[in-house]
Amino acid sequence: GSARLDGTPGSYEIPEGVDVRAIAHATLRPDRPAEPATLLVRRGAGHMLRRHAAQIEQVDADWERLHLPTPPADLADEVLGHGADVIVESPATLRASVIARLQGVLA
């Protein structure tokens, strides 16, 4: 059916200073700027992560360092999926979360 008005006018009051648009925006799209991350990635691995890298540094014969200025929101999942081919250097929170989740598997 079509939409129609219901209830009596003025049956509720909109509280002062409520901006529904702002609330919806904050709820649906959390305004959380991505923190830059640095990862160590084995040579020849981590193709998906390399796409996000602004800079790739050679570390040694086995490893390269990827600088990700705006990593994807699911970076921890992505890193974990790569297993022993990727190590998180920073940020510390990401590193701690990856370690904790791996320990969870062994617990």
């Binding site: 691995a45 998906m48 297993g83 989740r101 791996l102 598997v105």
Partner: protein
């Protein structure tokens, strides 16, 4: 119900035909009956019926001078020249015009079509139609700007190239990325066709590296080069993906997983055989797996919210992988 081409008998279709016919006749002077019938996709008999209706249309009052005049004798008499001539319908001379909404809808649809264009020739046709529409709509203030990302352009070009390779029976060299193995490889294939499954395009081809037929996701082909060498295998029609991506005969391993709520999305994302709801809100699911490396990556990604119930060697495999990774942080 008659089986004449298109639904020609309905009053609505008739009105549409008449409104198309009158400006058409105006623009062309006289048009031969058979020619007009073919252009409108109706039998000549139907068109004569239409004209008999037109004969009774016109401006209010309905006096002889108000009605459209159709030279019916020329169409029905033995010695008639079978050319349609009408007069007294000058007010209907304006050809079919699209409303702003109609033009916008068409332009948007055509641009999307061009973004994923089928073949090179087809995209030329689309481009021509678009140019005309956009020019016609330019005066009408149509706010259309549907940018097609360069990615999509490249994708469409790649798809056209692969289709060309299929029709010309030529080999293609692919730089292909396999996420399940995290590797990119270069291989030569004999393309069989581009097929779609659930909105994703795949190239079905015989892969000379694997020495077997393989499906390649178009969005994971980083580069495709059309070779001059003809295909080395028999041309075959591409496989049907109606039954899903895995052929029934393929060697699949059934794995039972225990999923915490954080890992529930797996059941919606991948085809699962069976889902058993547990008391605590977790799930036990049976999944058919073709590639163990794919499974290991999935389980690591879900760590620690997914565990392997069976087979036990896969549970051990996951622990080993977690242990080896953790060792890097020590």
């Amino acid at each position: 119900m008659k089986t004449s081409p298109a639904a020609s008998s309905g009053a609505k279709e008739q009105v549409a035909r008449l409104l198309t016919l009158v400006p058409f006749l105006h623009a062309r002077g006289g048009v031969r009956l058979d020619e007009a019938a073919a252009a409108l996709g109706v039998p000549e008999k139907q068109l004569v019926k239409d004209l008999r209706v037109l004969f009774m249309c016109g401006l209010p009052e309905g006096l002889p001078d108000d009605l459209i005049d159709v030279d019916l004798e020329a169409l029905t008499e033995q010695d008639g020249d079978r050319v349609i001539r009408i007069s007294n319908a000058d007010y209907l001379s304006r050809p079919l015009r699209l409303s702003t909404n109609e033009a916008t809808a068409l332009i948007v649809a055509l641009r999307a079509l061009r973004g994923g264009a089928i073949t090179e020739e087809a995209s030329e046709v689309v481009d021509r139609a678009l140019a005309k529409l956009e020019q016609a709509a330019a005066g009408a203030n149509v706010p259309v700007e549907v940018p097609i990302a360069p990615d999509e352009r490249a994708y469409a070009a790649r798809k056209a190239l692969l289709q060309r390779a299929v029709s010309e029976h030529r080999q293609v060299e692919l730089a292909y990325f396999v996420p399940a193995r995290d590797e990119e490889s270069t291989r030569t294939v004999d393309p069989r066709g581009v097929v779609a499954h659930q909105g994703v395009d795949y190239l079905d081809a015989y892969c000379h590296s694997a020495e077997a037929p393989r499906l390649f996701r178009l969005d994971r082909i980083r580069e495709a080069t059309l070779l001059d060498t003809p295909i080395a295998t028999e041309p075959t029609t591409p496989r049907s993906l109606a039954e899903g991506l895995f052929a029934a005969g393929e060697d699949l391993l059934t794995v039972t997983l225990h999923l915490q709520p954080q890992a529930r999305w797996v059941t919606e994302y991948y085809p699962v055989e069976d889902v058993r709801q547990q008391q605590d809100g977790s799930l036990e699911v049976d999944l058919r797996v073709a590639d163990r490396r794919w499974l290991r990556r999935l389980l690591l990604r879900l760590a620690p919210y997914a565990t392997v119930v069976a087979p036990v060697e896969l549970a051990a495999d996951l622990r080993d992988a977690a242990e080896a990774t953790l060792a890097l942080y020590a």
